[in-house]
């Protein structure tokens, strides 16, 4: 549409582009800073002041220390386990619940739905949940990171709404052909639910990857810790000392500085890597969520 633009509109367009560019820079710069710092020479880096526009020197020493650190390695594997097992459990539970609650003629449906939705409005609180997990004997057990978060109620409702939008005719003809509910779920519903399942994997998977609080309160053994808790020790408690047993004491602090950044990069790379592939599901995910929100 070639509409003649007034001077004011041209000015507006220019400012708009500039404002959004500044926003992008402000969003990306912290990440770029971290990336540059992680490959900087530690002794040059600590002497540097102000914005980092390029790496100060170049060394991958920090990455070597991070990747050789057994705790990083163990916690990385733990996180992968929690993400995969947790997301599989989440999906299975959410699909079962969503399918059952999307059936039309179920006597207890409204009652069960009410029981489930009520938990979005009211919760017993942190302390009672802690004692529930303790009473179940799950303290210091990997299951404590999976079972208490087996279903996210919002996600369950999103999925149910999505199942409800599948034409009933398909299910009816399957029933006439003698299919039971498991067959209908498996052969009719799930094949038609690719996008919503992708959205669920995205939501649940990222939540497990980023989760740390439950691990902090439920786990004692460091061997069970997810990556985020080790990150916490390194980033927020400044305890990089454990990593640098073989670094001479003179250099200790500078290397500690760059180790922080290398750890951040190592912990964030997987997210950055899958991000472009997940992007096409964002809008769908937000929209389905909003409809019922």
């Amino acid at each position: 549409m070639a509409i003649r633009r007034t001077w004011g509109e041209k000015w507006f367009d220019g400012v708009n582009i500039a404002v959004l560019f500044v926003l992008m820079a402000a969003t990306l710069y912290p990440l770029i800073y971290v990336a540059f710092a992680s490959v900087s020479d530690p002794s040059l880096f600590v002497r540097h002041s102000g914005l980092l526009l390029y790496p100060q020197g170049f060394t991958i020493e920090a990455y070597k220390l991070v990747l050789n650190n057994p705790m990083i390695y163990i916690s990385y594997l733990n996180t992968l386990l929690y993400v995969v097992a947790g997301t599989v459990l989440n999906l299975a539970m959410t699909i079962l619940g969503a399918y059952a609650l999307s059936r039309k003629d179920l006597y207890w449906k409204n009652a069960i739905t009410l029981v489930i939705v009520f938990t979005m409005f009211f919760s017993g609180g942190l302390i009672p949940l802690y004692f529930t997990v303790m009473d179940l004997g799950l303290l210091n057990n990997r299951l404590a990171l999976l079972l208490p978060v087996a279903i996210n109620t919002m996600n369950l409702i999103i999925m149910r709404t999505s199942f409800l939008s599948i034409p009933v005719d398909l299910e009816e003809s399957a029933t006439i052909d003698g299919a039971n509910d498991f067959t209908i779920l498996q052969r009719v519903i799930l094949p038609l639910s690719g996008p919503i399942i992708a959205v669920m994997i995205l939501y649940y998977g990222v939540a497990h990857w980023n989760s740390w609080f439950n691990a902090m309160i439920f786990l004692r053994d460091r061997e069970l810790y997810p990556l985020q808790l080790i990150l916490r020790e390194i980033l927020l408690s400044n305890s990089t000392d454990t990593m640098m047993t073989d670094v001479s004491s003179v250099n200790k602090t500078p290397v500690g500085e760059t180790i922080k950044y290398a750890t951040i990069i190592v912990a964030t790379i997987p997210i950055l890597f899958v991000y472009p592939f997940l992007q096409r599901y964002f809008v769908k995910g937000v929209m389905i969520g909003a409809l019922k929100g």
Partner: protein, 319 residues
């Protein structure tokens, strides 16, 4: 929640089936479905309703050794202790103020971003901005708080900039007066892009003919935004505003715990972080559970009100 007619309603009138028979028949017919629901209901009972029952420790002088049932009742003692304590006003004020700031500054930010994105003519540039601004939503809180701590440290980038312009260096995270600003601005930084998605979707639903008609009438870009775009997304804004108000007193503890320290408790400590500290760190279980229950009740009330209001708004916003 829609209310489909249950079988009992239909059959009850015609066949006079008793309720019990209907239940039995329904169960026999939908055995598999109830079998599927078993783990789901078990999950809700164990991890939601058991803790709700467990919340009665708020009325007890709870000791883990004696268990929930064995501990002695103290009535409203824990609640009274909280209401009378110095912390009551502090955590209530902090929770409220952080919510208000997030409402005033955090709520309009994604709307503004969506409006700006909507005005971009270059679709490629628009996609790039979207890709970049959605990203922080997925970065872990730990990394974000780590970077925030690092940037705001006395030898951090922010202070380097201040020193460069002749200011004096401050340890921002140790100063109570800065906590809320830091908390809210980093939240906006992380969520503004993600939050704009829903408004962009609403914007794409606006009838393009309205713009053409407005241009015919000689309306410029600003008048088009003011008279078409903003009214077009007003219902979405309304609903989201109501929903956010419903979460008013529900400030999550995760980011608070990662950023606060005893120096900033005065402005940083919110209800949920207070519950965590009193309960799990100081093992003051009954007291902490009482504070938690108090918070749950407030949240419950606000959410019910918000839900009711959004239903009203949905009805009236069909203009």
């Amino acid at each position: 929640m829609e209310n489909p007619v249950t079988p009992i309603d239909v059959r009850g009138g015609i066949f006079r089936t008793s309720r019990l028979q209907a239940i039995k028949k329904d169960f026999a017919k939908r055995k598999l479905i109830y079998f599927m629901l078993l783990p789901v209901v078990a999950f809700y009972v164990v991890f939601h309703y058991w803790p709700m029952y467990g919340a009665i420790i708020a009325f007890k002088n709870f000791s883990p050794a004696r268990g929930i049932l064995g501990s002695e009742w103290v009535g409203y003692q824990n609640f009274q202790d909280f209401f009378r304590s110095y912390y009551f006003f502090r955590v209530l004020r902090n929770t409220f103020l952080i919510s208000i700031y997030e409402l005033i500054f955090g709520f309009p930010a994604p709307i503004l971003l969506a409006l700006l994105l909507n005005e971009l003519r270059n679709k490629w540039y628009k996609r790039v901005v979207q890709t970049v601004t959605y990203l922080p939503h997925f970065i872990s809180l730990m990394v974000i708080c780590g970077v925030v701590t690092d940037f705001l440290a006395k030898d951090g980038v922010i202070n380097d900039a201040i020193a460069f312009f002749g200011g004096s260096r401050e340890s921002f995270l140790l100063l109570p007066q800065w906590f809320r600003t830091i908390f809210v601005s980093t939240s906006i930084w992380q969520q503004v892009g993600w939050g704009s998605i829903i408004y962009l979707a609403a914007l794409s639903g606006i009838d393009q003919q309205l713009y053409e008609a407005a241009r015919m009438d000689g309306a410029g870009r600003f008048r088009q935004i003011w008279h078409i775009t903003i009214p077009g997304i007003a219902p979405t804004i309304m609903i989201l505003l109501i929903l956010q108000t419903g979460h008013m007193m529900n400030v999550g503890f995760e980011k608070i715990i990662l950023l606060y320290n005893p120096n900033t408790f005065e402005t940083a400590d919110v209800i949920s972080s207070f519950v965590y500290r009193k309960g799990l760190l100081e093992m003051n279980y009954g007291y902490s559970a009482a504070v938690g229950l108090f918070n749950s009740l407030i949240n419950f009330t606000l959410l019910i009100l918000a839900n009711w209001a959004s239903k009203m708004a949905k009805q009236t916003s069909l203009w």
